[in-house]
Symmetry: D2
Subunit: 297 residues, 4 copies
């Protein structure tokens, strides 16, 4: 199977269950909303080493938000509900409440349950906080030095999907990189999904475990390392490939992950030099979701 | 004392000791370096709730970096050396190693000691890593899917200063906000300092402790909350002030903190509507550094 | 009439007819498309002194473009058809053809007529150009050093509307400025409209003619200048206003101008310190369109 | 000769004399200064079809500007003094005076003569303008709706150099493109130079004249078009090159052009896949400056 001359490998992405939240951060201007959304979703590429996986889902114009101000939907994810509760509290409390002119609303539609994030944050108001109703939501207004911070009392979480992924294999590193950027641009148009790695792109896909150092749970995927092609006999990189980037996607459900993968792959295939699209899996033993690349089209 | 018609209050900023690191992140282009620097310094406004305090110190053009590529100096800070070691490992490993085309070099000049961050990260290479010497530094080259990630073996840390600060009090919230942005622009020109809050600006300065909820260590500073001015009898906000933002600065030493405060305050005072510059302190009992505002000029 | 406590003055914006074009600029990535769109729409705030009025209408994700790549709709306008033909040729030829990886498609839906822009640009190919059909459009492929530039043979133009406008009057300059930025953010969500001034905001609204220098056709609108309030007896600025910015909108038709004005005004009224929304008119003698502010809501 | 394994061709860039101006645009914040600088330098890639060549030279922090606010040095150029006078008047008047919170200062050090740009713009004040002295400069303060616009009475111009250039030839289009971006990043560190094309990069280098259409003065440089390699017998593209971008530099003098070329070429050579650096010339008959690539190092 080919798209625009690029081989779509007969393989699958192995994805995992994760708890996801989705919040709308609004502010006085688009720029101010972006600043808060960026701070709150930083240091969150993978739960392998970060305290959460997080990213910006998409921009919401003022014409479509509860308070008529521009905003960004962001997603914050963790396998553990308790950990997610902690991360939501701290990322909203330290990254958004502290940011100029912001407000936070729930943006998850079919949540499994709700966490009392706004309810807990209100105590920061030291008794001066107030309960409001906006857009049929219970909102706390917390007085801060610069004005009032508004936050919805409860934020929904649900069982979502992490680790949707595909590999972009190109003739050179820079072709793979531009293709990865194009893929991320396309995935941004799919609501309910994020690409949590820096700029949406993974430079360093890993394998489970480590052959030489038994104290490590994850290590470089040497069979896919372009600079080890000559050295590693079992390399899985074809002759005409010298650059590889991976895209990892978290989403509210499998359907949106599939849509994001499909749009991302099509976008990557518009870039000259891309030779093959593949995907990461671990024998199918770990993740609950197997997404065949060729079924996406 | 006045600057450009703005009252400089006769008070001091109370700052604290913190362990600081300073790294240079380079990449193929300025944009790619910014992406990595942003991810690695996210979720790091204050150690009150974040696992670190971190931010971008400044841009370094390719003409001045060890590898002739554009880069950003970033600072990552924590009171505990052990915690800082952990944060450096994870923020470099998860936020920079994973980012496209990056390399990491030590950028602290007079370190107290060195942490083996690159040395520990090299194990990700699963035996394929190599030791190089660049610019008289010991560097590890770790093969990753997209190419090779370079990281200096040891990164310096030293006793620096956190919590340098000043308040911008203006006639309105938006005047205080633009003045805060101007202050942050100016502070960016002072090397060895960061403003770790979102966009460099603090919307929600806090007090130690909480009057109404004894389970909280920090809560809103009601005496400085503009929307509580009428309600709180002990308000410290003068009549003509309706907007307040705070700037918090971490730095490699007190001298750079002082320079940053001085430049930041002068810049804030270029904005119309600013009435007073004040600062946050806690009676002088907690922090080792007392920086009198009026001594800065 | 008030919106969110802000007075909507009983006045009208006087708008004028202008010839408009609307093109889609696509590129390999969103960033590259933005670079080309920005260059092609620069130096184009007002035909009073610029060779065109131009701006970015909105972003179009790769999922919705003819070539599956990210793009921006831009609008280029001029009162004279001949001049517009010239500007389209030069702005596409010098600002987009010269930009990396771009393509240009017509994005005007109900054009009055078509100009042979792509047809004329193809001669740059010196005989090596080719005619293609993409998405039922006649496209020329012009070989350039970096690859092939694609441009639609004909670009539509139509009678549109220029000079839709409103004034934001606030207690201070910075409140008016943030409100103007919020208004521009909202107007970006209205397709078929641009705000051609720098950042979408006009700092220097003018009056027709000049009282003191008869060689000038336009000069400062002293009755609305905040720093002349005390000096100019006929000032039209109320006591509580010390900052004024104007928003100017060009659009494909009156309906979209009205929508943009409505959304922009509502957004401006979310910002604290805004006191009044007014509009610019010249006695109704010059422009064909009179848009009453109070009829918008 | 090779740099980092890249062949530096034994050829020269042919550059031309041009009149250059250099202005400092300051504003309340860095972001606002960037908006004005971008508008004023748009639609200005090449005087072949644009009314000027213009670009942003570099950022100037508030610590180093006459008014203590952040700013950008920009350059505006034209072969004709009369035309440059016109462009300065319109680009400052329509692109900077109209932008929020801006001021304009001369930033050319050893000018040949001075043009009365501020002096002419002051008439917009309709008699309310005032003359000030700031930093030993004669400045006009012109009241506009949002406040006062400050502009230096006279702006210097001098005989500078246009058309400094080099070609980046890489194995693929995307490698050449990233290398071009890296080159532009490096050139930004050389004061007194601009790269006037979109994003600093030229996608469509041209030849003088046209073989097939005698009504054209410039047309595609078919011998350097990668997609015509097989078709054009006289192609000058070596076998291993499939992507070419050009960098064009204008500067205040030949020395800065040479520095910019040198830094830009070194930066381009850090990117994998780059094979050769060449340059554009026209037999040496047209331009006064011949800059041998190999003499730069």
């Amino acid at each position: 199977m080919q798209i625009n001359g690029v081989d779509i490998k007969d393989t699958y992405a192995e994805a995992f269950g994760i708890k996801v939240s989705r919040l709308l951060v609004t502010a006085a201007t688009k720029k101010l909303a972006k600043i808060a959304a960026t701070e709150a979703t930083g240091y969150a590429t993978s739960v392998i080493g970060c305290p959460a996986e997080a990213g910006i889902d998409g921009y919401v114009p003022p014409t479509e938000t509860p308070d008529g101000r521009p905003g960004y939907n962001i997603m914050i994810c963790n396998s553990s509900k308790k950990q997610l509760d902690h991360e939501l509290l701290e990322r909203v409390g330290m990254g958004i409440l502290t940011a100029a002119t912001t407000a936070v609303f729930n943006a998850l539609e079919d949540e499994d349950e709700k966490l009392k994030i706004g309810f807990k944050l209100k105590f920061f108001g030291d008794g001066y906080e107030k309960e409001l109703e906006i857009d049929n939501r219970t909102i706390y207004s917390i007085p801060i030095m610069s004005g009032d911070f508004l936050v919805e009392s409860e934020l929904g979480i649900k069982d979502g999907v992490a680790g949707g992924n595909f590999f972009i294999l190109a003739n050179s590193q820079m072709e793979a990189l531009i293709a990865a950027e194009a893929a991320v641009d396309a995935i941004h148009a799919v609501p309910g999904t994020i690409t949590p790695f820096p700029g949406g792109v993974v430079a360093s896909g890993s394998k489970v475990g480590c052959n030489n150092y038994n104290f490590l749970n994850a290590s470089t995927n040497e069979k896919m390392c372009v600079t080890l092609k000559e050295e590693v006999v079992e390399t899985e990189i074809r002759d005409d490939v010298h650059g590889i980037y991976e895209i990892v996607i978290d989403g509210v459900n499998e359907e949106q992950i599939r849509k994001a993968m499909s749009e991302g792959i099509k976008a990557a295939c518009t870039i000259s030099g891309v030779r093959e699209i593949s995907a990461g899996n671990y024998g199918g033993s770990l993740g609950a979701y197997k997404i065949n690349l060729r079924d996406l089209f």
